[in-house]
């Protein structure tokens, strides 16, 4: 099981961070991603593969300040 933003997700293992973000409708230029307590560098989104038991947090920023 993979946990993303506190929710258990099925059939996510094997996808890259970039693939997951696109599938879930996130704009990758507006997010920060943490995987198992470590920030995922932006340039690694295409390479990092989500694996069993990963805990992922995606923060998506909205405009205004």
């Amino acid at each position: 099981m993979v946990r993303i933003n506190g929710i258990n997700m099925e059939r996510i293992e094997g996808k890259t961070i970039a693939e997951y973000l696109e599938q879930a409708g996130f704009d990758s230029s507006r997010v920060a991603v943490e995987r198992n307590g470590a920030i995922v560098p932006k340039k690694s989104y295409e390479e990092v593969i989500i694996t069993e038991a990963d805990t992922i947090e995606v923060v998506s920023f909205v405009g205004g300040g």
Partner: protein, 210 residues
């Protein structure tokens, strides 16, 4: 003229000496001096944070007056200078460092190296993400307090503080984007600014939030 001693005595009446000393020794870097950043800076100044580093490239515009800490007399002035003046009228003994420049690319290292408490208060979501990613990737000792989602007149109670990552706290409702037709108004922007400022004070005192 109010003296430094008078101001410090006034602070000591409200806090224990220990709390006030921690605030006085602390430094916070605020990136973006709009509705969030200008109000956060004023709150931190009132709280007695010893050093504030203020970064923004922009000038005060008439459209800022609905939610930012500036006044008519500041229109056309760089926000860094206007805010330095405002803080000087609240507590002239706070050390204010200013950088009037756009935060991007090669500037990031120059502006943020060594800063351990950074308040992200930009308007643009891509810039928010850019700064947060940079600081979390490249500065392992930096904690970031960010604002996201405070437009419109939705319930105030939707705005909260969450520790989203090990070194990232996000304040806001997470979804109220500022777009044409739903602008930013003083109350919710100030509520979000209050969340950010309070989280910064809590971090200075060694407290966390889940």
């Amino acid at each position: 003229m109010v003296t430094k001693k008078q101001l410090e005595q006034a602070m000591d009446q409200r806090f224990s000496k220990e709390v006030y000393e921690k605030f006085k020794q602390a430094k916070v870097c605020i990136a973006g001096l709009g509705g969030l950043g200008s109000n956060i800076a004023v709150m931190l100044a009132r709280s007695g944070i010893g050093t504030l580093k203020l970064i923004d490239f922009d000038m005060v515009d008439i459209t800022n007056l609905n939610r930012q800490a500036y006044r008519i007399e500041h229109i056309g002035m760089p926000k860094t200078r206007a805010l330095r003046e405002i803080i000087g009228e609240i507590n002239p003994y706070i050390k204010v460092e200013t950088i009037q420049a756009k935060v991007m690319g090669e500037n990031l290292e120059k502006f943020f190296a060594g800063e351990t408490l950074v308040c992200e208060a930009f308007d643009n979501p891509e810039y928010k993400a850019m700064l947060v990613n940079y600081l979390l990737e490249r500065q392992p000792k930096t904690i970031v307090v960010s604002g996201s989602g405070m437009a419109g007149v939705g319930s105030s109670n939707q705005i909260c503080t969450r520790q989203k990552m090990k070194r990232l706290y996000v304040c806001g409702d997470g979804e109220s984007d500022a777009y044409a037709g739903m602008g930013l108004l003083s109350p919710r922007v100030s509520i979000c600014a209050g969340h950010q400022a309070n989280m910064l004070l809590r971090l200075i005192l060694g407290e966390t939030e889940s």
